[in-house]
Subunit: 446 residues, 4 copies
């Protein structure tokens, strides 16, 4: 019998990805500070973190490097969590600018930076969060305490003149209100935090998991903050490559000058990559290529609808109106015989979101002729989105007004629906419930 | 008994949205051509089109207006379909620029416009498609023949000096290679095409439906083109409001100066809105507000993971390893008794995408000790994404190599998986199949 | 005896300049239209026109070429003459922009081009003047009828997309109010006017000569217009080389893509140059070099004060208070003896501008003790500027109030001063006048 | 008899200017630092300094204020004097940019600021000069030791964030190579130097006087530096008003935020003005108005040719060919009788620059028939420019080759011409000299 670990194809897929790209020699290691220039161009690590906390590594997934600009979305998340979206958006825009990372375009008059992913916006973001909170927060995203590379930090301080310029411009415009040296000190520390590709994968997975670290279970930020950060990453995360990145890869992501990229697919996973050689836009060559290949091979793209091999909705929503002659079980038959009416059983397969719920609701409403009992069979539903829940709630209460009794089946009485007086039952219980109700009606008891 | 049509809450929701916003008096009707300035500021229409072809209207959803810039993504789709993404991207970038719709920023040297949603890019896009194709194509998106408002067309021609300037700049730079007057003539015609909010909803739904018009069933463009267009709408569709729009609304969208907006959620629906008064950025005030409210109320946001009321993955993938002592049915017990082994039944609820498939594969691989038969119970799976299918395929073939027999249950023998030698069975058949196989093994027959 | 013509060193100087630069092979002939690309890179002409109408030629000073952008200041002069400075400045700014010739930067909101020397401003300028006026006006500047190169005109029309773009932008902004095609037609004609280096020299000399063509004597434009045009040439004439040009050469000038340059020193001369090879900024390499050398060798620079070998002002204003004992002539002695007083004779050498007049006035006022007659000896004054005249006028009238008699000597009774009751006399007459006045006083007659 | 001081009209003119503008209430006092905001809006001082060191004051010409940006051209002069033009121009451009004073546009790649009059260029200029040199140098320009306003200096340091930003940008680009804090400390000190309108007038007059302080006689910088600084002031001194300023006023000038302006007319005078209320561009309202009025009233404009009331050149160059029959004196007659030939006496009136010298040379060369002696009568020449001197030199040496004897008259044997063997004589001496020469020829002696 084979090694059971080999049964999982994911490690092989990542290893294949790694092998295919490891030989790519293109790109240049960043040299603006000596510490970065010492990076070995052959370093290459990939990690994929699932939302239940499993991490698949490939290559040098455990090699540490300074996080640099990949810190930006996570510190932005902390700022949003601390100050609220409206307060932060008043200070830092969310518009992609098509500019390079170190652009100095600020909003006229206000000095508001265009978005938190360019240096100006990132520095202003940092000014909204304390160093202690940044260090602890990034550690919470990664699920472990993170160290700082003091040599890189020192070098950044020595060579950070452009960032000083940007900070002073914002201070002059009144958009930055904290001390420039102190704020940049925190910013340089933040950029010098040491992470691994594995860390970036977990950090991204935390965003993909509505802000909950999938390993530690800690809710680092709330689900709204996670969604907001992913959105800003989608439009602004890859600088002047943002548009083409989203087109080709379709994942919210952020890159850094040390060669790291963090990317996430909401509700699915997070990935972390690391390879020092950069392309002309300052994005890691191998990391970009790996993401493109992952996305293309697996269709992991925000905008990709499932292709035609996927069953259409017509197969997903099932309907059966049971009359006594066609009762499947004795209980059904008994019920139907006694009621003299019909019970519609509407089953739903798969996740129940807006579109599926809308279809369910519409079909029930359109085909209710003579039906007095409806069984909503949610036994085979995976995830029930709030919008679907609300639509079903409204429908059930309207059905009640119309004299139709609704019974919701639920394989484990999970309480999927929240309207106060509804009944959560198993499928068998649903039928029993119907029987009892009918008996009560027939016998005149209540 | 109530009017059955009233049972569906969606029309009421849209009507409520309409009523809440109809009284909003803010914004200014565009006046740059007389025809637009004649618009009644109170006009307001909403339509939502589902992917199975149902359209919910509210307000003046059937009032015609000129499509203006909302034509851009659809003509871009036609250009992509005709020329291919790489050829088009070489001519027109896909980077959000943070600029207003009529910006004249072109790429230095090449004169390449930044993206197809600003006028420069849209004009260049138009130059790649014939007028016949545009008119037929937009009609195919809408599912009906579309007329042109000749008075608006004439006015646009008279006042189109800025567009002439942009076109001549591109021609001078060599990026536009067609005749300026002829190209602009087509562009002005394209902008003067008459649509309704209902049309925009269907057009957007076609993009959300992988390029297939949900009413006519016509595949207007391929699924890749639809995804590419939605991506570009997500980053560039709302001009210098694109970032905040995606943050607040979370839907790929495109607006026009006549007051229209088309928006889509991939795989879910399309919406069309129309209300002439515009805000300072040129977006319809009521249409924006309606989209924000729709998104907020229903959580219709690309980046919003289901919130905490949604069952976690732990509830979605179920596992049961059945030993004879715990057999649920006689058949099971018989099988297990005879085999002296164990059968793992892995059930999956909901849609099966990358993340769920990964979890399933991983858990099977990790808990295979002593198991010789695996039943993959897909009976309650809604949609099966190709990536999940490939992962399960690979797993099954590796399990076969390891001497483990895999049986896939499928409620209707849909043939979800594609590996050649697998068996598609119902749940009961699966157990019967196992029994037979065991009997053969026990009795030495094959 | 040598040929008398050889006595004049100027032809030799220009010939030396020509010889020194003729071998310079650097620069590229403009190729954007075929007609320009056919130019022979070795063509090189220089001409210097004096304000009394003499022209010194060197090299191919009579070879015709299209005037191109060198037409801009002259058409601007016609616009100023026709509309007045304030009306023109409201439509076209006068600010140097540091931009290249074909920049499209317009003033936000108004669409006003920055200055009349970039294409945008030049096109708007052309829209203010009729073609007939332009052709006649440029001919008047040159002192002869000018032809048009129709092949170049046709080519410009075919390739003028950038200018069309600029024109449409201005029309869209409302700054250009005429028909684009008609205006550009005139503009392209204007650029295709055929001139020689000699023509450019005469045209520039006309500006330097307060608007009067030094050969024909025709006042093409008024002195204010000529001064305004020279000022705008000084700051904006050489595009993004304007500042360094003024620093190194110090002459208001305008260059064109066909290799022409016209430059002028107000009140001194005009020069015209022609050599097709251009530098990266689009200025003729040899023409630039020739101007730099001319300026450096002769100190022909607006800002160059005479150097230290020039006599200081102290030598220029002379003062002599004559008492009888020191009388230089018998007449003087007689006068002084009889008056018992003193006569101050203030002589002035050179041109009498503000600074010299101020000094004269001040010294007279400060040293008037006991003086009852003042002779202002203007016998050796060259040019008398109006400001000096006004200052002397005021002084004389104040002296009269103070009981001091002023007599102005003037070698030819030119009537330099304009105050009503003054006397214009020769030097001898002045003394005679004084004598008579004294006699009358002494004898009591009046 | 009136007070003799009242005879000079200049004080009254300045007083009239002062009175006419003192009541103007428009403009706003700068408030970006408290010290400037305390300025009394009614303060208004004017001073005019002549090149022989006289200063005319009007209003608060002795009130001190901080020099601010008016320091820029003078520190630039010190940098040019210390490093040479080419070295400085490599670091700081000289192109007008049409930008506001605090623009941050730097040359791409090099980070070179566009010119020394915007803050970026001024800071870089300051980095080239030591504080001791700046303080001493500005004192030398003003002719007295200058103090610093320490409160303003402190405030500038506190609020100088934009300048810090600019400096760090330049340092980042490699154009600024000194320490930012130290350089800005000097820059803030330089801006806080206390001056009066009188000081500014003397400083400007020093530039107008070829770098020599007209009061102290100290050569603060050389004549080339003075000319270069005046040129840069002409194109860049008034920020985005530079073009219109030069058009309307026609004087190189520099303004500052405290309300000062220094302006100069090369070879004529310097003026200093002070009035705190500023217009929207940051230029003193009253100072601008005063300069415009001064220029308009007196025609003090670089480009204004003398108007038509000025004698034409035809009157300026005189020619008389004396033959014996027309001899004016006995000596002349004797000479001419003996020589049997003719003597041409060419007199010149006024200043002798390029244009006049050219005319003189040309006329002599053209009318030499039969002439064997030429007397160049420079007795009535004011200033003799080097270019004229060189032309006459060349002519004389060519005449000698042609057998013509040249005699130069000079009222005071100033030695105007420099060719080795020429004779400097008075007019009478010239004739005597001719007589002797003739006698020697006639008698055969040498």
């Amino acid at each position: 019998m084979a090694d059971m670990a080999d049964l999982n194809p994911i490690p092989d897929l990542l290893a294949g990805l790694y092998d295919g790209l490891a030989g790519d020699q293109s790109g240049e290691v960043a040299t603006y500070i000596p510490q970065l220039s010492h990076a070995d161009p052959s370093w290459f690590g990939i990690a994929l973190a699932t939302l239940d906390g499993h991490v698949y590594p490939a290559g040098a997934a455990e090699r540490t490097f300074t996080i640099q600009s990949v810190s930006k979305p996570f510190v932005y998340a902390l700022a949003l969590a601390g100050c609220g979206l409206d307060a932060v958006i008043e200070r830092i825009g969310v518009e992609p600018s098509g500019d390079a990372f170190n652009a100095i375009r600020l909003e006229p008059q206000t000095g508001r930076p265009p978005n938190p992913m360019v240096n100006a916006g990132a520095i202003l973001t940092t000014s909204l969060v304390s160093w202690e909170r940044i260090r602890a927060g990034l550690g919470a995203f990664a699920g472990r305490d993170l160290d700082i590379d003091l040599a890189v930090y020192d070098s950044e301080r020595l060579t950070g003149d452009r960032n000083r310029a940007i900070a002073y411009l914002m201070r002059n415009a009144g958009s930055l209100t904290t001390d420039v040296d102190e704020t940049l000190d925190v910013y340089f520390r933040q950029c010098a935090i040491l992470v691994t590709a594995r860390d970036l994968a977990v950090m991204a997975a935390t965003l993909a998991n509505a802000g909950v670290n999938p390993i530690t279970g800690v809710a680092v930020v709330g689900p709204d903050v996670a969604a907001d950060v992913l959105t800003v990453m989608a439009t602004c995360g890859m600088y002047d490559f943002a548009g083409e990145w989203l087109l080709r890869v379709g994942l919210p992501a952020k890159s850094g000058v040390s060669g790291g990229i963090a990317a996430a697919l909401p509700g699915q996973f997070g990935i972390g990559l690391f390879s020092p050689p950069l392309d002309a836009r300052g994005n890691s060559v191998r990391a970009i290529a790996a993401c493109e290949e992952l996305s293309a091979r697996f269709g992991l793209h925000l905008m990709r609808s499932p292709d035609s091999s996927v069953p259409s909705l017509a197969d997903v929503v099932t309907a059966r109106t049971v009359r006594s002659s066609a009762a499947r079980t004795r209980t059904e038959r008994d019920i139907l015989t006694r009621s003299g009416g019909a019970i519609t059983i509407r089953g739903i397969l798969g996740d129940l979101g807006f579109a599926t719920a809308e279809r369910l609701v519409r079909e029930i409403a359109e085909h209710l002729d003579g039906v007095s009992w409806i069984v909503l069979d949610l036994d085979r539903v995976g995830r029930l989105h709030p919008v679907a829940e609300r639509l079903l709630d409204t429908l059930a209460s309207r059905l009640a007004d119309a004299g139709v009794t609704t019974v919701v089946t639920d394989r484990s009485s999970r309480g999927l629906l929240s309207y106060p007086d509804r009944q959560f039952v198993t499928r068998d219980e649903a039928l029993t419930w119907c029987e009892d109700a009918l008996l009560r009606r027939v016998t005149g008891t209540h």
